[in-house]
């Protein structure tokens, strides 16, 4: 075998191994941080004496310690929560002669359900033992109900989804003028379907 007097080329084959090692290190240590979530505003501490609210304007949702969902006293599956919340909010029960008649509601106008969306309140109680995952699911479904109604009205009035309107409003690239216009439109829609979600610390009695 002939001797090779040339300087041998540096073997670059292990470079891949080194790079892989680094790559795996970063893969393992990376935690993709989440920066999304459901926004809520807590009620202030100093509570004004509770106003008398008609029972028909309250939509009672409760979660017991076994993560079972009760809506208005009946067991309901989580998949149906959104539709039944929409039915309640969109009912528009007050008569046409009434001052606060809801002329944009597309509900069934039943007398035993909410008068109009402004007065409709969703009361959500959760047992302390219920799991947080389920709690978030319920919050998510209720948000979905409001969003669906707001989207519908925004689509009817401004030919645009409410979610898109908000997205454009919060975009930094939007001009001040558009923002101004959007702000009035957004608050108009919000007033039509205000999110009245109460989590009052009431006893859960079944």
């Amino acid at each position: 075998m002939a001797r090779n007097n040339e300087i041998p080329e540096v073997n670059a084959g292990s470079m891949a191994d080194i790079a892989f090692l680094l790559l795996i290190f970063f893969l393992v240590t990376t935690t993709i941080q989440t920066d999304v979530g459901i926004d809520r505003k807590l009620p202030p501490q100093e509570t004004t004496p509770p106003l008398p609210i008609n029972e028909r304007n309250i939509f009672r949702v409760s979660l017991n310690k076994n993560d079972e969902l009760f809506v208005e006293g009946d067991v309901l599956s989580i998949d149906q929560l959104k539709t039944s919340a929409i039915t309640f909010l969109d009912n528009g029960g007050s008569s046409k002669e009434d001052a606060n008649h809801c002329n944009y509601c597309k509900g069934e106008h039943r007398v035993d359900s909410s008068d109009n969306p402004q007065e409709a309140i969703i009361a959500f109680n959760s047992d302390r033992e219920a799991s947080y995952g389920m709690y978030i699911r319920v919050q998510n479904e209720l948000t979905a109900a409001y969003t669906a109604l707001r989207n519908r009205e925004a689509q009817r009035m401004f030919n645009m989804d409410f979610v898109d309107m908000e997205e454009i409003y919060f975009d930094v690239k939007t001009s001040v003028q558009t923002k101004k216009k959007l702000k009035t439109e957004i608050s108009q829609i919000r007033n039509m379907y205000p999110m009245k979600l109460s989590e009052a610390e009431t006893k859960f009695n079944l």
Binding site: A19, P44, S126, A130
Partner: protein
Amino acid sequence: MKISKKTTNRLPAVSTASLPDIVFMLLFFFMTVTTIKDNTLLVDNNLPSADKVKELTKKDRIIEIFVGKPSPELATILGAEPKIQLDDRLAHVKDVGPYVLSELAKKPDAIRNLVTVSLKVDKNVNVGIVSDIKQELRKVNVLKVNYTTYEGSPERISQ
């Protein structure tokens, strides 16, 4: 025994010289997208998923509170009950108010009203501890909360 000269009839080996380049590319991608955590988690933090979410845009307007069961290596000392983590230490519910106020004091005046408390709560935790935290937040009048979640369709929870 005489070895006859080999004829090079077999396929040439695939060149792996560009492999390091590919891997380095991946490496740089991960290095750039990685956000180094500023505090180590002492609790399990397996967030729930939701799809009707809003983005938390401004990082400087957020106060984070972590809740979860202590991580496995700490569970032997601390037990399995859910704990609250503020900054890099475990705390009691009573400490939430003072902590939030002290964090708030560090923020510039102009954005103090806009500060949101991001509740990063493990999905297996009971709601009780979360409502205790909310009570504490109401006491110190910090009312904007965000239940931080992963974005995605909410998974079924076995009942």
